[in-house]
C-alpha cells in the first residue's frame, strides 16, 4: 500500500503523462468526462459519475478502420494502425472496471477484435473507490464492491491523501515508475475507508434490488410478458441510455466520402434507434416496444445466457440519472420482481 498527498496529485499526473497518455475525469464546460490529461486541464476525482463512461478509451465512439485514397488515378488502401503506445486510465470506478470485463467477453472472444485487443494490451487501469455512492447506484446487485474496485491499481481518495495499491503485474510495473512520488504506508486507513463505504451502501435506496426473475432462463420466460407494453410508452427512442452506458457495445460500420477517397469507420449504434439492425427486406423489430424490450432482455437475459450467467449491467445508475423520460433498468427489474411474486 502506498499513498500520496492530494496536493501532490498534479505531479503524479505529470509523471504518468511523461511516459504514456493519461486519461482521467476532467471538468470542462461544467461537466466531468474522461479526457486526455494536459497541464491546463481541470482533473476532477470528486465527482462520482462522469456523464459518459470511460469505455471510450477501449472502445471509442468512433474510430477509423481504413482509408481509401485516390492519387493521380492510383487507388491505395491504408488500414489504421493498432494502438501500440501505452496509456493509463485513472479514476475508473468499480462499476466501470467491471464493465470492461463485460466488453472483454464480447470483443476478446473469437474472432478477436484486434483494435480493442490492442488497446486492452496497452492500457493500465487505475481504479478509484467510491467515497460517496449515489442514491442511483446499485452495483451491489451485480456482486460489485465499490469499496474494493478491481483494476491494475486500486486507489482510495480521502480528505488529504490518495491511497494506491497495485493489484496486478501491470499495476506493479506502473507503481515501480512512480516510487519517487508514492510513499509506502500501512493498510489501516484504507480498511476504515472500506468500512465507511460499506456502511453507506447499506443505506442506498436500491440495495434490495433482486435479480431473481432474471438470468439465462428469463430469455424465454420474460419475452412475452405484457409488462413490456406498460413500460415502454414514454421512451423517446433517443439513445441517451445506450451512449452513457459503460457496457453497451453495439456499433455500426459506415463509409465517409472525403472528396478524394473514402474512410471506413465504425461508430456506436443504439438499439433504441429506428434503423438499428434495419435490413433491406423484413425488419425484425419495427416498434419501439420491441426495441425497448430488446435492450433490457439483452442486459438481463441474453447476455447471461451467452456468457455463463454474467449480466451486462453493472449498476452504475447513469441511465437512471440521464434518461429524459425517467425510464431505466431499475424500473424494468422492479416491474418483473412484482410479477414474479
Amino acid at each position: 500500500m502506498f499513498r500520496i498527498q492530494r496536493e501532490n496529485l498534479p505531479g503524479l499526473y505529470a509523471a504518468i503523462a511523461a511516459e504514456s497518455d493519461l486519461f482521467l475525469p476532467v471538468k470542462a464546460a461544467g461537466k466531468t468526462n474522461y479526457a486526455l490529461w494536459s497541464p491546463e486541464c481541470q482533473p476532477d476525482l470528486d465527482t462520482l459519475k462522469t456523464v459518459k463512461s470511460p469505455k471510450d478509451v477501449f472502445f471509442p465512439q468512433s474510430e477509423n478502420l481504413y482509408t481509401c485514397q485516390r492519387d493521380a488515378g492510383k487507388l491505395s488502401v491504408t488500414p489504421e494502425k493498432h494502438r501500440d503506445t501505452p496509456f493509463v486510465v485513472l479514476g475508473m470506478k468499480a462499476c466501470d472496471v467491471r464493465a470492461v470485463a463485460v466488453l472483454d467477453k464480447v470483443f476478446l472472444s473469437a474472432p478477436v477484435d484486434t483494435y480493442y485487443a490492442a488497446r486492452r494490451e496497452m492500457g493500465t487501469i487505475v481504479s478509484l473507490a467510491c467515497g460517496k455512492p449515489e442514491a442511483s447506484c446499485f452495483c451491489g446487485t451485480f456482486g460489485i464492491d465499490c469499496a474494493a474496485p478491481e483494476g491494475d491499481v486500486a486507489t482510495w481518495l480521502t480528505e488529504d491523501f490518495l491511497y494506491w495499491n497495485p493489484q496486478s503485474e501491470k499495476g506493479t510495473a506502473l507503481t515501480g515508475k512512480l516510487t519517487a512520488l508514492l510513499e509506502p504506508c500501512g493498510e489501516e486507513t484504507v480498511a476504515r475507508e472500506k468500512d465507511g463505504i460499506h456502511a453507506i451502501c447499506q443505506r442506498l435506496p436500491l440495495k434490495e434490488l433482486s435479480l431473481s426473475n432474471w438470468g439465462a432462463e428469463a430469455a424465454r420466460k420474460n419475452f412475452d410478458s405484457p409488462i413490456w407494453e406498460e413500460l415502454y410508452h414514454p421512451c423517446l427512442a433517443c439513445g441517451t441510455c445506450t451512449f452513457v452506458c459503460p457496457t453497451c457495445q453495439c456499433y455500426d460500420i459506415k463509409d465517409f466520402d472525403t472528396g478524394s477517397g473514402v474512410q471506413r469507420y465504425r461508430c456506436w449504434d443504439s438499439c433504441m434507434y429506428s434503423d438499428f439492425t434495419m435490413m433491406a427486406a423484413g425488419n425484425n423489430r419495427t416498434s419501439q416496444m420491441q426495441r425497448f424490450r430488446q435492450r433490457f432482455m439483452h442486459k438481463l437475459a441474453y447476455f447471461p445466457a451467452n456468457y455463463d450467467g454474467m449480466f451486462s449491467c453493472v449498476g452504475c445508475g447513469r441511465c437512471v440519472d440521464k434518461c429524459p423520460s425517467h425510464l431505466n433498468i431499475v424500473k424494468v427489474i422492479k416491474a418483473f420482481e412484482k410479477e414474479g411474486k
Binding site: K31, Q61, R203, G239, H326, K331
Partner: protein, 319 residues
C-alpha cells in the same frame, strides 16, 4: 392533485376520452415519468408536482393515431407546442381533450448540487414552498425553489394557456430574467471568443439525439439525420464539423417553429445550453421581421414561409 384524478376519472368513465396522458411517480419526487392511463383504477397513480417538466404535447402525435380521444394535461408552455403541432397538421384537434393545468415553475434535480439526493420536500402541487428540503445520504440540505428551477421558467412566456378545453389549477409567474440576455451577451463577444465558447460546449455532445427526440417541432417521420444518404455521420461525432453542425442544422430546421419550450436543454445529458441557438433565431426573427411567438395562435404567418417585398437585406449592419 386529487382534483386532477377525479376529473380524469370522470372523463374516462363517461367515455368522452379513451385514455389519459399525464405523469406517474417512480421511486422519488423527482422521478416522474410521462404515462398513459387506460382505466379508472390506474388513474389513482396519476401524479403532478414541481418536477413534471416534460412537455406532453409530442406524445399526442402517436396517441392521435389510436381510437378515441386522449385526455392530456398541458402546462402553459406545453400548450404553445400543441398549437404549433396543430398548425402543421401533425395532430387533429378532435383527438385531444386538453386540460390546461396550473404551473408555478418547474424544477430539475440537475440544478440541485448535492451528493446522494434521496428526496426533495416542498415540491408538491399546488403548495410549493419557497425553500426546498433535500434529504441526502450525507445529511439534510436546503435550496431555494428558484435556484432549482428549470432555465426556461426564469424566462417564462406567461401563465395563459393558448389552447385548452378546460382549465384546472392556478399558475404563478416565475419570470426573473430577460429572455434574450444570454444571446445578447454572446453577440457582444468577439468572434474568436464566441467560437471558443460554442466549441467548448458542443464538444461535450455525445450525439444521443435526446434533444431532437424530445422536441415537439422535430416530428419528421424520416429525420434528415437518420438518412443513410446523408453524408455526415448521424451517430458518430468524429470531427468538429459534426459537433457543431448537428445543433445548428437542427436549430435551423425548427427556426420559426420553435416555441422555446426549453425541453432540449432540459434533457441534454451533458447540459449543453441548446436554447442559445433557438433563442438566437427567435431574437433575429423578432428584430428583423417583427415579434413572432410560434404556437401563440393558428392564423399568423410563420416567418420562414412568408415574406415581405421590403425585407431587410442579409448582412445589414454587419462588417
Amino acid at each position: 392533485m386529487q382534483e386532477m384524478i377525479q376529473r380524469a376519472k370522470a372523463l374516462l368513465e363517461s367515455g368522452q376520452v379513451s385514455r389519459v396522458l399525464g405523469w406517474k411517480k417512480g421511486e422519488t419526487e423527482f422521478d416522474v415519468e410521462p404515462a398513459f392511463f387506460d382505466t379508472a383504477e390506474s388513474l389513482d397513480g396519476l401524479f403532478y408536482n414541481a418536477f413534471c417538466g416534460a412537455n406532453l404535447s409530442k406524445y399526442l402525435i402517436e396517441a392521435g393515431k389510436k381510437e378515441g380521444k386522449t385526455l392530456v394535461f398541458l402546462k402553459p408552455c406545453d400548450s404553445y407546442s400543441y398549437n404549433q403541432l396543430l398548425r402543421e397538421h401533425r395532430v387533429e384537434r378532435e383527438k385531444a381533450y386538453i386540460i390546461g393545468i396550473g404551473c408555478k415553475g418547474k424544477l430539475t434535480v440537475n440544478k440541485i448540487p448535492f451528493d446522494g439526493i434521496l428526496s426533495v420536500q416542498g415540491a408538491d402541487y399546488p403548495d410549493y414552498s419557497e425553500n426546498l428540503t433535500v434529504e441526502t445520504l450525507y445529511g439534510t440540505k436546503h435550496i431555494s425553489y428558484k435556484e432549482a428551477m428549470l432555465e426556461r421558467c426564469h424566462v417564462c412566456k406567461g401563465k395563459e394557456h393558448v389552447v385548452y378545453d378546460e382549465l384546472l389549477g392556478e399558475s404563478q409567474d416565475t419570470v426573473d430574467a430577460e429572455r434574450f440576455a444570454q444571446v445578447t451577451a454572446l453577440e457582444a463577444m468577439a468572434p474568436e471568443e464566441r467560437f471558443a465558447f460554442f466549441q467548448a460546449e458542443l464538444s461535450k455532445c455525445i450525439r444521443c439525439n435526446a434533444c431532437r427526440n424530445v422536441c415537439p417541432a422535430c416530428s419528421c417521420r424520416k429525420c434528415v439525420f437518420d438518412s443513410t444518404a446523408f453524408d455526415s455521420a448521424q451517430k458518430a461525432n468524429t470531427t468538429s464539423f459534426e459537433e457543431k453542425m448537428f445543433h445548428v442544422i437542427r436549430a435551423f430546421h425548427v427556426a420559426g417553429r420553435c416555441t422555446d419550450c426549453g425541453e432540449c436543454s432540459r434533457v441534454c445529458p451533458q447540459g449543453i445550453p441548446l436554447h442559445l441557438f433557438n433563442r438566437k433565431f427567435i431574437k433575429d426573427i423578432n428584430t428583423i421581421y417583427g415579434d413572432y411567438q410560434a404556437g401563440a395562435d393558428l392564423e399568423s404567418k410563420a416567418p420562414l414561409t412568408s415574406f415581405r417585398t421590403d425585407d431587410a437585406e442579409p448582412g445589414v449592419g454587419r462588417g
